[in-house]
Amino acid sequence: MIESRALDYSFDEEALGFEAPPRGAGVARTLGQGLAVAAMAAGFLALVVVWASGWMRGSWLGLFLSLGLIATGGTATFYLRFAGTVPGIRHDGVVFGSATGRGWIGWGLGLVITGFYILLYWFPQTLEGGVHLVDPLSQILAGKGADHWFLYGLLYTLAVWVFGLRMFMKYRHNRYQQVRTASVMIVQLGLSFVLPNLLKAFHQPEFYFSYFWPLKWSYLWPGDFGIGWLVHHPSRVGLWMVIFGAGMSFVATPVLTYFFGKRWYCSWVCGCGGLAETLGDPWRQLSSKSPRAWRLERVSIYSVLVIIVVTTVLLWIDYAAGHPVFGAAAPLLAKWYGFFIGAIFAGVIGVGFYPILGSRVWCRFGCPQAAVLGLWQKLFSRFRITTNGDQCMSCGNCSAFCEMGIDVRSYAERGENIVRASCVGCGICAAVCPRGVLKLENGTTHADRFYGADRPLDLLISSALRGPDIPFERRD
């Protein structure tokens, strides 16, 4: 006899899903947590007041009371939240949370961030209050008053640091996460914020060493909206910067990607990646895993790459010929690229939609740098994610938390290695896997990357003796 508990069961798991279960007696917020949240709230209040009224504007006190309090309160909140728990994966309630599960807080945050980008790009004069707020810092760093880009850079860096420290706490049992988070935090602060402003202070070109063509497209474009201003800069270091940038694009990219995979850039250096890995972490699970998203991704990311390459080539042809060979085409393409791809795609959608579409929308669907790095990674790299035998039990944590929307499970459950162009090597799939099935590895050769190296030491020897083409049995 089949039990009545089964026969009477009529729940429609497909249509209804499983909502948040009831909570028990619970743990009350501690005094420290309350204070931290209060500090953050006070900071936001001060920000609004200073921004809108102009009171204390341009003073250090105003800056500390607003952004300073928000950052300190935010960091303390995250610290205390994780400090009370045993180190380990803490994703409890991620799906149910209003902020992390596309609830009204999530939508609200999305609106706020999106709105900020729209003001920043097209109505910067509306940000004047905030610009003056950060004046004192700009005075010391760049030697002059702030503009809206300085404000943006500061907010960006603060976000990377506050949420970077959150990552440190969340993954205090995982050194891979800590090391790469430290890397993006330091690069953001040093190479993307302090150094460019210092360069300005010393009347050098404002150059970002952590970006290069094609992501920073203008670093290889001819003429005044390209490298012109660098090359013709009176200080002469500009030329070296151009050479550095070209070296990163054409030498460092293939070489480093061969050894480490695209992660060396995407989740260790890049500022966009840095923001996605820190501020974006609470939303990584929102990236779509549907086959449709995957088909769209393949078309869109390589289209952007083609557009940027074509634009660059046309610009150079025009430049070499000394007159517009294709009429107004090249400059027009360049302008549109900046508007549609640079501003709307990378900024407004890429970051503004974090709480709705997940943290790597731009990196996954648009970034031409990611496209280039991905091609290298897929075709010629030692990097792979290895699967540990047959231990996968298809739970789906790896796929759910892959910010690039890769269905990691579909490989893991077949015992196959994951070699995907889009994988940024964040290592979260390996971190969340409850059965320890996944490991990010740089093999000793690129040739065996699809099948995994069971015996890396033996492999090293045999690959030295026989060359890289070791035949590997494909496991069923």
């Binding site: 499983f18 028990g24 047959d390 739970c395 944590n397 579909s410 459950e413 409850p434 320890g436």
Partner: protein, 432 residues
Amino acid sequence: MHTVILGNGITGVSAALRLRTLDPQREITLISGESDYHYSRPALMYIFMGHMRYQDTKPYPDSFWDQQRLRRVRGWVVGIDAQARRLHMHGGESMAFDQLLLATGSKSNKFGWPGQDLPGVQGLYDLMDLRLLYENIRGVEQAVIVGGGLIGIELGEMLHSRHVPVTFVVREASYWDNVLPAEESAMLNRIIRDAGMGLRLQTNLQEIHAGADGRVAAIETDDGERIDCQFVGLTPGVSPNVEVVRDTAIEVGRGILVDDSFHTTVDGIYAAGDCAEIVTPGEGRNLLQQVWYTGKAQGRVVGEVMAGRDAHYRPGTWYNSAKFLDLEYQTYGQVGFHLPGEKHLFWEHSDHRHALRIVYTDRGVVGMNLMGLRYRHRSCERWIEEGRDVDYVLDHLEEANFDPEFFRRHEVEIRGVLRGQYRDQRARGAAA
């Protein structure tokens, strides 16, 4: 030919996929009363804890099944007419089959405790239980989980994540020490208590008492102690789900009896996975394997058999893995089998969150346990299958390490400690 697979768990689905690969023309139907689509049973806990949505626990996109031409039927089978080759469904319909695979899984054990059927008392096996749990934990101030084991600790973690205070009531002297050696088991006791859960060892459930509202209000232990609680989780293990074959010609022992090609005693009817008991002539004890991996492996073999191939299930070196709260566990080979002449080498980090055990006999290394360390399945398996000696394994530990990059490596320390133990054991052996 119409093949009907009863059960859309990992066994049924693995069989269906293998069969589809080998026979593109076959008409295949998967039946389950539990869910429309195959989902990962071990992921049940993550739905409840809010790590994933239910959809995320489905290994294949919904479009996959039509693409593979695997028909899905939702409903309970209440009877099998082996003679007429028909299944009878709850609700009156019936379905004809040429081949039938029984992959009905397990069901939670109940040991006839007084009060075990009270409202507020339940096990954890399927979506029905999960749904029930939502109702049962409403307003609960104290939960008790009776019977240790893997599912018990998962249930505890689930309740804990919703801030429901949990106490384990366990018969053993140390958590799961019927499977784990004493040291690993002690690590579990510690991690349970560190998480803030209660743990009563060597305690037996005597009776479950109802309150005035008819729901569970307390349990009574064998030493007469009463623990007030509004929820009782019963997780004293599982046994094969054989309800549907009772009173048919299909023979049943503890599970549905099959040979190593998963034929039941009735022609054209097969059984595999949790519900099957594999008769192994000459070995004394039949094989009952009730984990995900074995379901997958058995499903593949029975898929081949149903496609007309001559395939046999040959279980390889045993392995399993689990996670107790935040403590990962892997096991390879024969640990806890009490082999004649077996000896143990054991290292534990001072933080009590990392440990490694090697079991060896004069045949070489026969088993390994890892706590808080990830090792390569293939390396450990190969050492055991090749009968490597302790020295070889200790020399090659680094090769097997599967922890993420930058993690602290313990191999040098482990080698030092275990070498010392090994030397002592051999000296003692020589002296004796």
